[in-house]
């Protein structure tokens, strides 16, 4: 069966420090991968998605970046964190081997990032 791992679960970082969040998926190949952010009391905001190795689409231009060095690995990074980067970060995967209208997302357990 497929599983998704996301770490760390909690992170407290000072303003201006770098960030690296990692997500890996097991039990499937060539998944679509996504990074979402959820600010307190707000909805899920799509940050990046990837349909293959090295292919990254950005939805929100800011100081965050994403990379997909391997088929089932997705990394969210920042060189210098801002206070506004605080939030709940979620990685998700989906596959399109079935009909596109069957696509649903499977989420990781999330990383709560506090930038102080």
């Amino acid at each position: 069966s497929q599983t998704i791992h996301q770490w760390p679960a909690t992170l407290v970082q000072p303003v201006g420090s770098p960030l690296s969040l990692e997500c890996t998926v097991e039990g499937t190949s060539n998944p679509n991968l996504y990074w979402y952010r959820q600010a307190a009391g707000r909805g899920l905001q799509l940050l990046f998605y990837s349909v293959g190795i090295g292919q990254i689409s950005s939805e929100v231009p800011q100081n965050l970046s994403a990379s997909r060095p391997q088929d089932r690995q997705f990394i969210l990074s920042s060189k210098k964190l801002l206070l506004s980067d605080s939030g709940f970060y979620l990685c998700a995967w989906s596959d399109l081997w079935g009909e596109p209208t069957n696509e649903k997302l499977f989420f990781g357990s999330g990383t709560q990032l506090s930038v102080l």
Binding site: G43, L90, A92, P100, T101, N102, L105
Partner: protein
């Protein structure tokens, strides 16, 4: 712009009653809508998907409807239980695909 909107106010109901949550979409016609459940501090979990040509979809105590005239989906939980307390999110792909957009979610509180 394409939007999915949910009532941001929490819904409080008594155990055993039917909970009904609403999802409205504007400025596009999604081919389908999805519903997810999210518990505090956890990632959303997929519950149901309903296509535009389906009026209703059921799964155990859950029922989802899709009204393309009203541009609305309703999510029902019958015989609700305290364990159903969570935030429920609706979602759909925007035109252009590969981008699943979520509503802000509605928090459901079921009291014993």
């Amino acid at each position: 712009s394409q939007k999915i909107e949910q009532n941001s106010e929490a819904l409080n109901i008594q155990e055993g009653k039917t909970a009904t949550l609403t999802c409205n979409y504007t400025n596009y016609s999604p081919a389908y809508l999805q519903w997810y459940r999210q518990d505090p501090g956890r990632g959303p979990v997929f519950l149901l998907l309903i296509r535009e040509n389906e009026k209703e979809k059921r799964k155990e105590r859950l029922k989802v409807t899709f009204d393309t005239t009203l541009k609305q989906s309703l999510f029902h939980i019958t015989a609700s239980q305290p364990a159903d307390s969570a935030t429920y999110l609706c979602a759909s792909h925007t035109t252009g695909f590969q981008k699943l957009v979520f509503g802000t979610g509605t928090r459901l509180l079921v009291s014993p």
